[in-house]
Structure formats: C-alpha cells, structure tokens
Amino acid sequence: MRHVISLLIENESGALSRVSGLFSARGYNIESLTVAPTEDASMSRMTIVTTGSDDIIEQITKQLNKLVDVIKVVDISESAHIERELMLVKVRATGKDRDEMKRMTDIFRARIIDVTEASYVVELTGNQAKLDAFIGAIGPDLILETVRSGICGIGRGDRVLKI
C-alpha cells in the first residue's frame, strides 16, 4: 500500500542523511522525498511517499520517530489529506504542435512560463495522477524534458502537524 508520511525534523546538517540512510539500511522504499524549512526555520518539513505492508509502515513510522532529530511523524494518508506535486515540462512547440500545446495547457490548467520559438516550459501542479495524465496526453515525442518536485502533503480540515 502507498503511504504519505509527513514529518517535522530539526533543520540540522546530517538530518536528511539520517532519514534517507534509515530507508536504505532497512530496505524500505522511497517513491519520493521532499524537504524544506518551515515558517520556523529551525525546523524542516519532510513528505515521504513510500509503499509497504501495514507491518512495514508501522516499523517505518516507529523507526523515524526513533531518530533523535525527528520531532513528529504522521502518516497523513491514514485520513483525508491533500497531495500536490509541481512539474515543469519543456515541450516542443513548433508548427501545429504549438497551438495544441497551448490547448493542452489550458485543459489541464497548467501555465506556460517560458516561451521560445521552438519550445514552451509548462508548469503544472496537482496530484500524481494529474501530472501523469498530462504527460500521457502530450506523449513522449513532444516532451523535451520533465522535472517533478515529488509530493508535498497536508491533512485536510483541523488536522495540523505542528509542535
């Protein structure tokens, strides 16, 4: 099962390697991992997308909690939550493809943020499925380059991950 784990961690050197080292040492999967400081710069917030059986996910959260730098761990996918990922795609935009690209961008509510005679850079945010769908819709021939941020997640409603 796919899980989205959010955690708050001390913003200290080596903290990221402790988390990534834990995953590799214990053979856990990482589908994506994003991290950046929070509004309180002494703390970072990390979102890890991982897969595993219930037992493994239980171990992952326990092991993360055990790291001395880790302040809080929540499996946000256990209840209602929002996931977003940012993608930048550089696409070929020449001839009839140029209009087609513009149209696709509108349909997906993406934005064109860089224009040259031959290419666009398209910015798109959404959940993984939406980003995948966009790539699928454009097709590999027109894609010059893609870069994805990995997932950021947050609980819906009153649920707040804070100290």
């Binding site: 001390e10 390697s17 326990k62 055990k66 001395v68 730098d69 880790v70």
Partner: protein, 569 residues
C-alpha cells in the same frame, strides 16, 4: 571563565563525573590530550588499538551502568573505533565517543587523516554530532551524555574539529537539556499494564522471557520480585543473564539456539509469554513462522516501540522503562484480588520438570582430555559464582553462558548482538578498572584473544589482574562446528595454525602464563591464578579439539527442533 574547546571538553567530562576515558592520541586531538594532561580528575587509559578503547569503555559501562567514554583521533583513529561503536550499538550500551576531526576549514578537502566520521558511523550510533563552533561544545556534550543514557541507551559520537578545540569561549555547563525532538517515555500505560496483569493471572502456561533491556534498566530486583510473586518460570537470554538468579528453581536456563531444552519448550508451548526488554531475535526464537504456529498471547515490555511487533506480533505492547513498568506491574498485581491459577501452574511446572529431567546440559567428561565445559564449571566453583565474566565470540562464549551460572546482573559481559570477536580482553579491562579488587575473568578462544592481544600491554601498564581463560581448541571452533554439521565436515580455513605459546607470550608482556593440559590440573591452575590477586594470569587450557556446543537449534528450524547431544545427529 574563558576556556579553550579542549579544556571545555575535559571540564564537561568532569561535570559528568567521568572517571576513565579510554583512548589513543593523534594529531587532531592534541589539544584535547593537552587539556587532559593538565588535570587529574579524569583518568586516561592508553590502549594499544582504538577498537579496544571503545570496547573497554563499553565493558566499563556494562559492568557499572555508567556511560563509557572513549577518545580517538581523526581518520584511522575513528575508523578503528567503528567496530567498537557498532558492537555497543547492537547491545544498546550507553557511550560517548569523542573523535577528533580535521580543522573546520579543511573538512571536505581530503585533508590528511580526514574521513567523514559522522557519515561512517551514522548507521551504528544512536546519534552523532559534528561540533562546528566552540560555543556549542558544552551543550553538545551535555546532550550526548543525555541521549546516550536515556531511552534505549546507545553510543553517541561527538566529532570535534581541531580548530574548535583550540578556540576559546566562556564555559558554563548547562544544568539540563531540553530537546523538543527527543523525549523518551519511561512510565508504562496503566491500562496496558492492567491488560497484561489480567492475562498473566489467567494464564495456564505462562512464561517470562527477559533480555538485555532488563539488565540495562537495572531491573533485576523488580524482575525477581515479580517472578516470585507470580510463581512462574523465567528464562534470560544471552544478553539478559543475571537478570534473574540462575540458581533459583524458577529459572529455566537460557533460551534459543544454544539454550536449554526446558526453556525452549516452555517458550514455545506457553499460552502467555511476558517478554521484557527482549527483542525476539532469530538466535532466540528460531524460525518465526514455526514460533507463530503455537497460539499464545504475547505481552511485550520495551523502552523502544520499534522493537515491539517487529519480528512477532504482540498482543499487549507496553512502552516504558523496564524497571518502572515492573514496579507498576507489581503494584497492580499486589492490589488485584485475583491470584495466579494455582492448579494450572502446578501442572505446568510438572510438565516443565519433565522437560528438565532430560538434563540437556549434561556432557561426557573425561579424565584424559580437558572438556571446555568442565573448565567453565570449575571456574564457577573456584570463584563462588561471583566473578565478573567477559567472553569473546564462539563456542567458548556459549559454554560460558551455559555453565557459569549468573546470579547477579552486570556480571556477564559479551557481544550478543554484533558477535564481535576480540571484545573479551578489553571488556575485562573496563570491568576491572570499574571494580578494582573484584575477580574478573575473560573466557576466550585462541582465535578471539588474538584479535586484541596487544591489550596485554595496557593491562601491564594499568596493573589489571585479569584472569584469562583461553579454551584453546586450535580451531575457529564455532565455525568448525557449523562446517561439521552443515558443510560435510569440510573444515575450510577454520583451523588456527602457527599459534604462539600463549604462556610465554603473556610472560613477555610481563604477566604470568600457565599452560594446562590435564583435567586434573584445571582446578589447581584456577586456584593459583585467583590467588595471585595482583597479577594478570593467562591460563592456556588445551581443550578437546572437537567438542561441540549443545543443545542446538539449527538456523531456520523451530525452537522445539533441538539437537540435544552428538548422539542425536
């Protein structure tokens, strides 16, 4: 008061009441050594190899429950220390390791004797710090000691660049430390404890199984009270020996791969298993699927939530410090109206006594050739069961665990988790320094002892009257045993050729060496050794070369599938 980083480190160690630092100097720690030189509160023990420094600090900790401290230089000093750190980590031993590092400005430049110590040690420490500013030295060391000794204990490494030890700042040792990210639970959840107590009182075939956690939290007294109060059988793992008196009737011996028949059978056929500070290691429960076949309720008490339901599914988890939770548990039992089911217990004990009557620890003694088990039994007799025993890793370790009956905690020091050959002598050094005048014996093998034999020199310098009992079978005995049983008797590289004359070797270091060839001389030699209160005596026992450790549960097999003796093969 304005002090240099190095002076601050030493002042912090004084504040932490550190008696001994085990270490080895080098370029990156010269200022630290200078600061040590100028005081005499913290004594430095100069080892002959950094691995031994860490092991000795570890042994000091195991025998006292204090935090062990080691000091090594950058680069090779730190890499030599890694085995020691990993060994302590696997057995959750509280330690602070201070390593020198190249100056801050040189970090990342492939400087002379630079290694990424924080990176190399990261997977085998509880936590690491790289101190980049002299103003953080005191608070970091305070945190390091706090982290090492609280929660599930473990080694903490503090890497200090040379310039930081040289820079100066105002020194003040923080009174306490607040860490928002680190607040281990110690008290158990009363509701969970109530559930556990109810299960125990209703149990028909209860069993108590305790590990290193019971020793680490100094809970032997509570454990004994609880076990007697309940009248239930108990087993202590290799790491838990001495948690409950081995000479008591309720004690069934050690469980696991080389455990007793009765302990393994009782573990397997129990209907309620109370696991305390233990982690269902593969060497203890054998094949987990086989173990799970028999239905039983498991109560698991541990300070580390990640140890619970890791290898076996647990019905009643209790997170907390073993000693505190046992106190809570005893209180609840004493105030509960219900008592354990006496009839059920009686027939359970009948069954256990029946298993016991197999006398699985018997071995065939000989008048001709020294049996290794016999040496351990004699050692137990000669020391009145009251020595601190360290061991290395191999057959001799298992015989020591099986035949030296530990009645008290912190008398048995061995590398259970990592299984590091070479710990025996440094462990004995740490223990002897912590307990001057106490009998300390190191049970070892001719292969293991050679992994840190250079420490005989340290023992001379610091006058450590350790008694080394070398069970010399001229084989990597444990390897040979597996090759005999599982690899068609092909003894690939498991013999020890070109051995030194250990007695002479010991003498050349200024100690006393005795070679013992005959069973009839074993006791006399041991008595002579222990009579020499001020001397290190190296007893080189020439033992039966091909004796095997039994009982044995083969890897991957179920706990009840035991080879009891050579006749079972």
């Amino acid at each position: 008061m304005v002090l240099s980083g190095a002076e601050i480190v030493v002042r912090c160690l004084q504040e932490e009441k550190v008696e001994y630092v085990f270490g080895y100097p080098g370029g990156a720690v010269l200022f630290l050594y200078d600061a040590l030189f100028n005081q005499d509160k913290v004594k430095h023990v100069l080892v002959r190899h950094e691995q031994a420094a860490v092991h000795a600090a570890d042994g000091f900790s195991r025998s006292t429950s204090k935090v062990g401290v080691a000091l090594v230089t950058s680069g090779p000093g730190a890499t030599n220390a890694v085995t020691g750190i990993a060994t302590a980590y696997c057995d959750s031993i509280p330690m602070v390791i201070i390593s020198g590092q190249v100056p801050t400005a040189a970090i990342g430049q492939d400087a002379f004797q630079e290694v990424d110590t924080v990176g190399i040690t990261r997977p085998c420490v509880k936590h690491t710090f790289l101190v980049k500013d002299v103003r953080e030295v005191a608070s970091t060391i305070k945190k390091a000691f706090h982290i090492a000794r609280t929660g599930r204990p473990g080694p903490v490494l503090v890497d200090i660049p040379k310039d930081v030890t040289m820079h100066k700042c105002e020194f003040e040792y923080p009174e306490d430390i607040v860490m928002r990210s680190y607040n281990p639970v110690t008290k158990g959840h009363q509701g969970q404890i109530r559930k556990a107590v109810q299960l125990l009182l209703e149990a028909r075939r209860p069993m108590i199984y305790t590990g290193g956690g019971a020793i680490l939290s100094d809970a032997a007294e509570q454990l004994t009270r609880l076990t007697r109060l309940l009248g239930m059988p108990i087993t202590n793992t290799l790491m838990g020996l001495g948690g409950y008196p081995a000479s008591d009737r309720q004690y069934l011996g050690m469980p696991g791969m080389h455990g007793t028949y009765e302990a393994n059978m009782a573990m397997h056929y129990s209907d309620v298993l109370l696991a305390i500070g233990a982690r269902f290691d593969d060497r203890v429960i054998g094949n987990p699927d086989h173990f799970a076949e028999e239905p039983r309720k498991i109560i698991h008490l541990d300070i580390d939530p990640s140890s619970i339901s890791k290898r076996v599914k647990v019905d009643v988890p209790i997170v907390g410090d073993v000693r505190e939770v046992l106190e809570q548990m005893i209180q609840q039992i004493e105030s509960a109206p219900a008592r354990p089911n006496a009839d059920a217990l009686e027939s359970w004990w009948k069954q256990i006594d029946d298993w016991r009557s197999r006398d699985c620890m018997k071995y065939r003694n000989s008048d001709e050739i020294i049996k290794p088990q016999f040496v351990v039994q004699k050692l137990w007799e000669v020391t009145g069961g009251d020595a601190i025993i360290t061991s290395d890793v191999g057959q001799h370790q298992m015989w020591a665990a099986q035949y030296y009956r530990f009645d008290k905690p912190r008398r048995w020091l061995n590398s259970g988790g990592l299984g590091t050959m070479g710990v025996g002598l440094p462990y004995a050094m740490g223990a002897q320094l912590a307990h001057p005048g106490a009998p300390v014996a190191c049970i070892t093998g001719e292969a293991s002892i050679q992994m840190n034999i250079q420490e005989l020199s340290t023992c001379k310098q610091f006058r450590l009257p350790i008694k080394i009992c070398n069970l010399n079978n001229r084989f990597l005995g444990m390897v040979r045993q597996w090759q005999q049983l599982f690899h068609g008797g092909r003894y690939s590289e498991s013999y020890m050729d070109s051995l030194p004359d250990f007695a002479k070797l010991a003498e050349s270091y200024g100690h006393i060496g005795l070679r013992v060839d005959k069973p009839g001389d074993v006791e006399g030699a041991l008595r002579e050794a222990f009579a020499r209160k001020d001397d290190l005596v190296f007893l080189d026992f020439q033992v039966d070369r091909t004796e095997n450790v039994y009982p044995m549960v083969q890897g991957g097999k179920g706990l009840t599938d035991m080879i009891l003796s050579a006749e079972d093969l």
